[in-house]
């Protein structure tokens, strides 16, 4: 569904991505793993066209999107779910969700999707009129995921959904991501530092370092490779039971 071929990008004259090759098949969850400053967020920005793509190409549904404008990419159905700090703190929860549906004009469909988001995150329904700046960390994360879904995307890209959250909340968030994949048959690119959790959910994983994909493989094989985790991804996160996730 998403094909990234030899993509180079960066800020100003500083090159961060040095030829990234990745592929996210329809209906799968693919993880992009790596520590701070390895190029994860830069790649997301390049895909969403917040940054220019210097070289290479990005195909979505078989069509090139690396020359489109950011809002056109959203209209194609590829939506980046921002980090939780990027909710609009001065807007109500309801307005935040409505902004997510900006690219659509089917009112009935939007109402339907609102209900679906409430079903997924009941806590948001209780807080509709509250400023999103007053929500807890986990609630804001749910809000940005819900906001992303309001665009009725074909594929979502999640930017570190577990960052700055308590372990218990992280677990809840990952369970919801799994539900979104199963119930909506969503294609998901998951950018994470929480390696073990991400690999448990994913079908396939990529490890990025210094702007290049260093390792890739089936998630089920990568997860048992202690050596890989230690050397490329730093410390490990407490083990989680695979069965508990689904």
């Amino acid at each position: 569904m998403l094909e990234i071929k030899g993509v180079e990008s960066g800020y100003g004259k500083l090159k961060i991505l040095r030829g990234i090759n990745m592929s996210v098949p329809k209906g799968s969850i693919v993880s992009l793993l790596g520590g701070n400053g390895t190029g994860k967020s830069t790649l997301l920005k390049a895909i969403s066209r917040l940054l220019p793509v210097w070289a290479g190409e990005i195909l979505f549904d078989g069509e090139p999107i690396h020359n489109l404008k950011p809002h056109e990419i959203v209209r194609r159905g590829l939506v980046q779910v921002t980090q939780s700090k990027d909710a609009y703190p001065g807007m109500t929860v309801e307005d935040n969700l409505k902004v997510g549906a900006f690219s659509r004009s089917d009112k009935a469909g939007i109402r339907q999707d609102l209900e679906r988001v409430y079903a997924l995150f009941p806590v948001l329904k209780q807080r509709l009129k509250q400023m999103s700046g007053t929500l807890s960390g986990g609630e804001v994360q749910m809000l940005v995921i819900g906001r992303g879904l309001m665009a009725r995307p074909k594929m979502i890209m999640l930017d570190e959904p577990s960052s700055a959250l308590a372990p218990k909340v992280v677990f809840d968030i990952f369970r919801v991501i799994n539900m979104i994949r199963k119930e909506m048959n969503m294609t998901i690119l998951l950018v994470e530092q929480n390696v073990r959790m991400a690999l448990l959910l994913s079908d396939y994983g990529y490890v990025i370092r210094d702007g290049v994909i260093h390792i890739e493989g089936k998630a089920s094989e990568m997860i048992d490779d202690d050596n890989l985790r230690q050397s490329y991804l730093g410390g490990t996160v407490a083990d989680t039971n695979v069965a508990a996730l689904s």
């Binding site: 809002h71 609009y88 807007m91 900006f102």
Partner: protein, 294 residues
């Protein structure tokens, strides 16, 4: 007499407020202070004057046409001149200082264009309204009443636009964070034009409103800019209700000051107030306190 002055002060103040609203809107949306906004106000007043006196359109039609024309001029100015500065990346926020200088330059250019077109003379709008209304002993010129009615209508429309329409929601989203707004599928460059157009239309409305009670002249923009700017800062820079409130305070203070203290120092009171507010409460009366929780 007290009530007469109060009403005069409030209606002048609400015009300051309307112009300050435009300045605040551009600031909250684009993070720049638009120093040519006084000249936008002046242009609006002249366009309204031409449409009303020369073309002979009814006053309300002239008002709306002047707002539209000025909005178009504003959008063109922003597209052709201001946006160039954002090309080096980082958007309006980063271009800050350059943007202020370009704003001053644009003010001088617009003033000179107006000078070429209309010369240095002052003009007055032809008489519009009938005899003053008698409100139990207070005789109130109709023009002041109309300023109030029109200004309040405009504010209501703006509030409805921002709070209850999809486009208004997008404007607020762009104001809060442009990068995230584009990830929501919002065409940010178009929204920036919308913000600029609306702000310039408000400036023009101020000009057409103040026309019938003041003279229209090429230099009228400069004083309006600093008073509207004071109003915006007193109310809390970037806050839209604050801009209106600040405008009313400046208008009333100025009128009372002129009436009871000294008429020849009319233009000073706004700045005394500004200094006082900055000393006591630098964020302004309704200064935005952002509650952010990680």
């Amino acid at each position: 007499m007290f009530f007469d002055f109060l009403i005069v002060g409030l209606s002048i103040g609400i015009v300051y407020g309307i112009v300050a609203l435009g300045i605040s809107l551009i600031y909250s949306g684009l993070d720049i202070v638009h120093f040519a906004h006084g000249e936008i106000f002046m242009l609006g007043a002249f366009i309204g004057l031409v449409l009303f006196n020369t073309v002979g359109l009814p006053y309300p039609v002239a008002l709306i046409m002047a707002m539209i024309a000025t909005a178009v001029i504003g959008v063109v100015i922003e597209r052709v001149f201001y946006r160039r500065l954002t090309r080096s990346g980082g958007g309006y926020t980063v271009a800050g200082m350059g943007m202020i200088i370009v704003g001053f330059g644009m003010a001088i250019i617009l003033q000179n264009i107006a000078f070429l077109a209309w010369g240095a003379t002052s003009f007055g709008y032809d008489p519009i309204y009938g005899p003053p209304v008698d409100l139990g002993g207070i005789s109130l010129p109709r023009s002041y009443l109309w300023i109030m009615v029109v200004a309040i209508t405009l504010m209501t429309i703006l509030n409805f636009f921002l709070k209850h329409t999809k486009l208004g929601l997008a404007v607020r989203a762009v104001a809060a964070n442009k990068e995230i707004a584009s990830l929501m599928g919002i065409n940010v460059p178009v929204m920036i034009s919308v913000i600029f157009g609306v702000a310039c239309a408000l400036g023009a409305a101020g000009g057409v409103l103040i026309g019938p009670i003041n003279f229209v002249s090429v230099e009228m923009g400069y004083l309006m800019l600093i008073k509207a700017f004071s109003a915006a800062v007193i109310g809390g820079f970037g806050s839209l209700p604050g801009a209106i409130l600040g405008g009313l305070i400046v208008g009333v203070a100025e009128t009372f000051g002129a009436a009871y203290i000294s008429g020849s120092h009319k233009d000073i009171y706004a700045f005394i107030l500004l200094i006082l507010v900055l000393m006591i409460r630098p964020s302004g009366i309704m200064g935005v306190i952002v509650k952010v929780k990680a």
